[in-house]
Symmetry: C2
Subunit: 332 residues, 2 copies
């Protein structure tokens, strides 16, 4: 059987389409008896308003889309939970799609905003260059979370990555670290900020740059292992490693342990994110807690403002406080 329309409902209920529409949209100007008839007809015909027709007419979809390189990052999934809850309480449906770091797929997804498939976009880890993100932000309802492009028009929600890296590196130094190493990721803006924080902390502690090691790559377990093997070839060995993510830190700890060295006694290791990985690791990881859920909530609120209030907003960045979580992978 073909899908029912307002027309069908109107006919079955013995009223006009206008009345049906009013019932559908909870207009108060409907008599109780009409409402009942319409409701009954709707149920009888199993009617649902067609989204595309409604969207076309209303010029909005009440849907938003979030984009991320991949979905299984604990921070992203937690932040997206915040987005989802905030969105739901404003009547929006939130969807997410992975870009896999593929510019073409990212473009296709961004087009969903341009062509009105969704009302707003949240970007977690853009693949496109900063300028492109900025240009989008000028004209469209887009908010960045975690990763924020480095420019005048920058806007979005994140922690202060530089400061967080500074804090945890300082902790590494205060607990005896002298030959510092970092496993970072220059491909991401947050990665570059964390590197800055790392270097600044070293400098302020009077540790000369040539006493520090830096290696970089993707933030996954195997890369963490591989990069740590590089670090372990250094002489003298580092005595403290700051990793850009807990997962990388887990790989780092594993490689150090497999090499017969002890964490933190021989080499201290710090992570980042305070994901469940930090607790799964042995020893458990000292790390930086990101308030991911709240970042997501806030990001949606900002997006909502952009979607509903026409004109270009430039609220700048919102920094949420991070927290140093000290566990057993560093000395104390």
């Amino acid at each position: 059987m073909a899908r029912a329309t307002v027309q069908d409902v109107a006919k079955t209920a013995g009223v006009s389409v206008g009345t049906v529409s009013r019932v559908l949209n909870k207009s108060p100007a409907v008599s109780e008896s009409s409402k009942e008839k319409v409701t009954a007809a709707i149920r009888q015909l199993n009617y649902r308003p067609l989204a595309s027709a409604r969207d076309l007419r209303r010029d909005r979809t009440m849907r938003i889309l979030a984009l991320a390189k991949n979905l299984n990052s604990p921070i992203i999934s937690e932040a997206f939970r915040g987005v989802g809850d905030a969105a739901a309480s404003s009547g929006y449906v939130s969807l997410i799609a992975p870009t896999a770091g593929d510019p073409e797929r990212e473009q296709q997804l961004v087009d969903m905003l341009r062509n009105g498939s969704v009302d707003g976009l949240i970007m977690f880890s853009p693949t496109m260059p900063d300028e492109d993100v900025d240009e989008m932000a000028e004209q469209l309802s887009v908010v960045q979370v975690c990763e924020i492009a480095d420019s005048e028009a920058a806007f979005g929600v994140s922690i202060d990555d530089r400061q967080a890296a500074f804090d945890i590196t300082t902790h590494l130094i205060e607990t005896g670290g002298r030959r510092l190493a970092m496993i970072g990721n220059r491909a991401a803006r947050s990665g570059r900020l964390r590197e800055e924080g790392f270097r600044q902390a070293a400098a302020e502690a009077g540790i000369s740059p040539d006493q520090t090691l830096f290696v970089e790559g993707e933030f996954d377990f195997h890369t963490g292992r591989r990069l740590t093997r590089k670090l372990l070839k250094a002489a003298p060995l580092p005595d403290a490693v700051f990793c850009g993510s807990d997962t990388v830190a887990a790989g780092c700890v594993r490689e150090i342990t497999d090499a017969g060295l002890r964490v933190p006694d021989d080499i201290a290791v710090a992570g980042f994110d305070d994901s469940v990985q930090a607790e799964m690791c042995v020893p458990e990881l000292t790390t930086i807690r990101q308030p991911a859920y709240d970042m997501g909530r806030l990001a949606f609120e900002e997006l909502l403002a952009r979607m509903t209030v026409p004109g270009v907003h430039r609220r700048g960045r919102t920094f949420l406080p991070h927290e140093l979580v000290i566990r057993d992978s560093t000395k104390n």
Copy 2:
């Protein structure tokens, strides 16, 4: 500036809307010169066809939606990668949304199929009862992956969970396990099937049911630890534990190790999924590999058939082969 429409493009290009539409849809019946003019106008006006108008007219969206309890399950994110690749090569955009196990939110998302916001639905971990899934499947384009409802109308793609559990339990027995334990999850159909396989393997090996232990809960790290503490209170202790997921197994190993016992010498532990957790664990986990990516691809192909050829549907499940991966958490 307001958004451009086909009308605007037609006017700017000096042609009719029909011609613009033909260019947009790559109709061959357009002269080269018209095409160029239209293309130029489109670029000049930065025009994009409005999705809702096009969807309304065409009665389809070329979008599909996947639903899962949460996004950070390695199996789900890998399977969704498969869905996404298959979808992309058929011109579909695939989105995903977490239900958080909330029936209301799940319903809202399912409504996106009912109201035509998307053309098809892939369900990873339904929260609704099996009957409801079946009823949906009768009338709508829905395919299940991993978790498949237990009924006549069952359809979808998964591994043979019962057989996989049987295989890995048998491995546990063959390597000396006699006092068997399982950490399962009866809330999920796959969990119940794995329990069956576990019990069947024990029975066939002549191990009486009262020599086996069974505890259950959610499949996360902390639950794994908590349930393992329960197991460790048994006397005599189990000598082999089959866990329903790698993450749970990681928690199990951790708790055993913290109790001063050795894995696998004192207690062997097996996981499920062959996710990265299996390799992060020390010792690395013996587990069952699920061909998640291929499951996703196949699921999309089946969904595509359902979306394009309404009516005739092959009912039934598609089982993909699993693989026993032996590592160090079990004896050999």
